[in-house]
């Protein structure tokens, strides 16, 4: 049994435009991936590719006008899409926890840090009273916050961005969930602080044998912290596989373009800029969604590309995947 198993997930929004016509935006178009215990999976892609949407769907947090016309999400064997709000509340923050973006606004400004950590345990009945405070302190120490006893009394606005992000990680992990979803956990942090926060997260996830889904648009983060990676484009996963494999032999032209446009360590000789924009989600063409930007597109690309397996764990959704790799 997989920890998190997302199969062929579709998500669409019905939106009424200025001309008063209802149009449907197809935001996710068949997303499939899995996360197992003890591994960190990276979900990368450009803005609007559907990364955060995938995370929200996995948490069962999608609300109208979002619809899931097709697909399945199973977590620890349970069907997330079939669960009631009551059942989901029991899972969220308990078995499956989320580390959200923008750490500084994600803490209740009127509650002290320690109280928020304690509350997290009380909500799920994992601990209360002195035991909860003790665990909260231990958790703050585990995310390497100096002087945790004193920080328990701190107000959220007294924390720096990196510190607040650590507190959020502590909150996510305090109930010992099986899966952590980190949605761009280091946006807005300095590069050095970024590395510290991610190191902390990785160490805790691997030490406790949790599964983690890290959403990012930073390939460097993926290369450094993840075991497997899934590359998203226009609501589809275009390539997935072990990080080393995907970075060494990217098979999908989009992945290749992404890697080529990364400055620094990965492409040492400088970088290129990929042209074009993501397709209009209101009017998705049939066939390959990348074909307008693809250097190797042919008439074959008018048909939807299958996932071509390059080996048992690496695959790409491209008609020419094998030739390219």
């Amino acid at each position: 049994m997989r920890l998190l198993d997302v199969q062929d997930l579709h998500v669409e929004f019905a939106a009424r435009g200025l001309d008063n016509r209802v149009r449907v935006a197809r935001a996710l178009n068949g997303v499939s991936f899995t996360v197992d215990a003890g591994e960190i999976v990276g979900l990368v892609g450009e803005t609007g590719a559907g990364k955060s949407l995938t995370a929200l769907a996995a948490m069962g947090l999608l609300r109208a006008p979002a619809r899931i016309p097709q697909g399945g999400i199973r977590f620890e064997g349970g069907d997330i899409l079939a669960m009631s709000d009551r059942q989901l509340e029991k899972i969220r923050g308990r078995r499956m926890a989320m580390v959200v973006q923008s750490p500084l606004t994600s803490l209740d400004p009127l509650k002290r840090v320690g109280d928020q950590l304690v509350r997290m345990q009380r909500v799920h009945g994992t601990a209360s009273g002195a035991a909860a405070r003790e665990r909260a302190e231990a958790m703050l120490a585990a995310v390497r916050i100096p002087d945790p006893k004193r920080r328990m009394q701190a107000w959220p606005h007294e924390l720096s961005g990196g510190m607040a992000q650590r507190v959020l990680i502590a909150m996510a992990l305090i109930n010992e969930p099986a899966l952590v979803i980190a949605d761009e956990p280091t946006t807005g942090l300095d590069v050095t602080v970024q590395a510290q926060v991610l190191d902390t997260l990785r160490d805790l996830v691997l030490a406790r044998n949790l599964g983690a889904l890290v959403i990012t648009h930073d390939l460097g983060v993926v290369a450094h912290y993840c075991q497997r990676v899934a590359v998203m484009f226009a609501g589809r996963i275009v390539e997935d596989g072990p990080v080393a494999e995907v970075f060494a032999r990217p098979a999908h032209p989009y992945t290749q373009a992404l890697i080529a446009s990364t400055p620094g360590r990965i492409a040492r000789i400088g970088y290129t800029v990929t042209g074009g924009t993501p397709p209009d989600l209101y009017a998705l063409p049939d066939g390959c969604l990348y074909r307008d930007r693809c250097p190797r597109a042919t008439t074959a690309c008018l048909a939807p590309p299958p996932r071509v397996a390059l080996d048992d764990s690496h695959g790409a959704a491209c008609h020419y995947a094998e030739r390219a790799a």
Binding site: L88, G93, D108, W155
Partner: protein, 286 residues
């Protein structure tokens, strides 16, 4: 290091002198109201037929007597009871009615919000003094009616303040994080949204209580609501107004000063509270 109550009082005064002064004034009046029977030199409605309109300082009448020969000082002191007697319950009604309405309207949105807002708009569209006058006149001139009218008329303000806050908070990241952490809806609403949403309303409460004191005095002044010879400040000012032209200024002046002082005190308290309640301005203990 433990902080004593005294330390805390001094700390509060330092952080907001405005609040300290305002609250001090309120406390003085609260003291007068609580112990009016002991402090007032004479019963407030005891008439001295041979000593009408005596100027301040005549014999035992420190602030003089009014047209009925009643001691002005005693009446001013007892008047504090009427002021608090209206301000406190009216303030409670404003908060108890307005805050939940604003919370529901902001959180639920949609038609619930729409209907509530339009009803509140209609209430606010009338000039309050005219509406209060009409309702009190129609329902009878009891003390209780004044309280109810003043309280309900002002609850839309609280509903609006709280609703606006809830709208902003509904999409705040920490609220969404709370949902993602598995908090049930009622918990998110009561534990995370409510405390953050009522900061503004709390600071507004003393201001609206000041308004309640003023409006009830106004109603009494124009002869509606509390009636003379009850020692109510508005009623006393009305009585005294007749004598100002003939030179007996003290009958109206002293209740007027008391009214000004209490309203000022409440207003200062409200201003100071908004500073004190913001945790970002809260000094953190060393």
């Amino acid at each position: 290091m433990s902080t004593t109550t005294l330390d805390r009082v001094i700390g509060t005064a330092r952080r907001s002198p405005t609040f300290a002064v305002g609250f001090g004034v309120i406390m003085v009046f609260a003291f007068l109201a609580a112990f009016a029977d002991v402090i007032a030199p004479l019963p407030p409605t005891l008439s001295h037929p041979y000593d009408t309109l005596r100027p301040p300082g005549t014999g035992a009448f420190i602030l003089g007597t009014d047209g009925n020969g009643m001691d002005v000082l005693s009446r001013v002191i007892h008047g504090a009871r009427y002021a608090f007697g209206i301000a406190l319950p009216a303030g409670a009604i404003m908060a108890v009615v307005g805050i939940p309405l604003g919370l529901i309207a902001g959180w639920r949105g949609g038609w619930v919000d729409e209907v509530l807002l339009r009803v509140l708009d209609v209430l606010r569209a009338f000039p309050t003094i005219i509406l209060a006058l009409a309702i009190v006149a129609a329902t009878g001139q009891g003390f209780l009616n004044v309280i109810l009218v003043v309280g309900f008329l002002d609850s839309p303000i609280f509903a609006r303040i709280v609703r606006a806050e809830v709208l902003a908070l509904r999409n705040a990241t920490f609220v969404r994080a709370a949902v993602a952490a598995g908090n049930p809806e009622w918990r998110v609403l009561l534990v995370h949204i409510l405390p953050n949403a009522i900061l503004g309303a709390t600071a507004q409460l003393p201001l609206r209580m000041a308004w309640a004191v003023r409006i009830s005095a106004t109603l009494a002044f124009i002869g509606i609501g509390v009636q003379a010879p009850a020692p109510e400040w508005g009623a006393m000012i009305r009585q005294g107004a007749e004598y100002v032209i003939s030179g007996e200024w003290w009958v109206a002046l002293f209740p007027g000063l008391a009214l000004i002082a209490l309203v000022l005190g409440l207003n200062l308290t409200g201003d100071g509270l908004s500073d004190l309640l913001d945790p970002k301005r809260r000094a953190t203990g060393k």
